[in-house]
């Protein structure tokens, strides 16, 4: 099969074990993982912990994620920090939809990962019920080191994925197809 059929840039052959990628893919991936601009969707205490991570002692800027942009149009990673309740769920979905591809989601803290200790009529039991999540950070709140570890894990994940043709495929669907568990 040819490159044009699959629609992917830079994939030369496809076989069961993996992909052969070109230098261009590597450059794109390097650029993406080292310039993750987070959108801190902070609703509760985890947002305060994230503020600690962006300040000088723990310094997320080392990983290129220094520019926090509170607009979905200007960021590429949404970091959900805090409790999401059913009232806020459609807002979160809307904000996530407004981020341009490729977008990444980090779910920070117990409340965002699974509802935390709020198992009641108001709290969504995990944001993965609303949006696809790349990295979960457990903790209440997670240590700043854990958040940096999550950013590093996300960078590792970005390193492994194929770079799809612009505008054609949604990133999460592509990653699902090529996931090697």
């Amino acid at each position: 099969m040819g490159v044009r059929d699959s629609g992917f840039v830079g994939i030369e052959t496809k076989n069961e074990t993996g992909l052969i990628t070109t230098r261009l893919d590597e450059i794109v991936r390097w650029g993406r993982k080292n310039s993750l601009w987070p959108l801190p969707f902070g609703t509760a205490c985890c947002a305060i912990e994230f503020m600690g991570v962006v300040s000088s002692k723990f310094d997320i800027s080392r990983f290129g994620a220094e520019l926090v942009r509170f607009s979905p149009r200007q960021s590429d990673m949404i970091l959900v920090a805090g409790t999401i309740n059913y009232k806020l769920a459609p807002v979160l979905k809307k904000i996530y939809d407004q981020i341009a591809e490729p977008k990444y989601v980090i779910s920070m803290g117990a409340c965002a990962c699974s509802g935390g200790f709020y198992d009641n009529y108001a709290t969504v039991q995990g944001i993965d019920q609303i949006i696809p999540v790349d990295v979960f950070i457990p903790g209440c709140p997670p240590r700043p080191e854990a958040i940096l570890h999550a950013v590093m894990k996300l960078q590792e994940r970005i390193d492994k994925e194929p770079v799809p043709k612009r505008g054609v495929h949604r990133r999460h669907e592509v990653v699902e197809k090529f996931r090697d568990n």
């Binding site: 059913y86 009232k87 769920a89 459609p90 807002v91 809307k94 198992d119 009641n120 009529y121 108001a122 709290t123 969504v124 039991q125």
Partner: protein, 176 residues
């Protein structure tokens, strides 16, 4: 069981009983608190007396109780007003048994402005109808939520999805 003497509460309870007689159904003095159970018909008079003549100028909260699972109770619901007097440094709790069949309760918003949102929350969570409230609508739950979640017959983990966002334009454009 009271652990210390609270003479100011003694005086207040004696005065309430003197003034309202049989409308004060019960007095609870356990744990150094003072709680007065008042009949629903007299509740506005009791609250007005406490605010205007006994200087209870701070209404801390309006709460509701669903007594369905308790061993004994007068009526299924109770509305609880928590009052504090800043000049006298005194707290008192006023409880009103409310039947499930008649959920109308006179509002306290004419006495304390903080009763506005307190009663809205009690209405949202239990379903009390505060007669005379300027704006009795939901406060915390989303606009597609159905039911009164703090009632005992509402499922404990009963979350309800909300599919649409709601903005605050109608609240912002409301007349003061």
């Amino acid at each position: 069981m009271a652990t210390k003497e609270t003479p100011k509460h003694d005086a207040l309870v004696a005065e309430l009983k003197n003034r309202f007689g049989a409308k004060i159904l019960d007095v609870d003095r356990s744990y150094d608190d003072c709680a007065v159970v008042v009949e629903k018909g007299a509740i506005h008079d009791v609250l007005a007396f406490l605010k205007n003549e006994r200087r209870f100028n701070l209404l801390l909260d309006v709460a509701g109780v669903d007594c369905m699972k308790l061993p004994t109770f007068r009526e299924r619901f109770e509305v609880v007003y928590m009052l504090y007097s800043i000049p006298d440094d005194l707290r008192v709790r006023v409880e009103v048994p409310v039947s499930e069949l008649d959920m109308d309760v006179p509002t306290a918003t004419d006495l304390w402005k903080s009763a506005n949102w307190g009663e809205r929350e009690a209405f949202e969570m239990f379903g009390f109808n505060f007669v005379g409230h300027p704006c009795l609508k939901r406060l915390l739950t989303h606009h597609e939520f159905v039911g009164h979640p703090l009632r005992k017959d509402y499922p404990l983990m009963g979350g309800q999805w909300c599919a649409t966002t709601s903005d605050m334009t109608e609240e912002l454009n409301e007349p003061r």
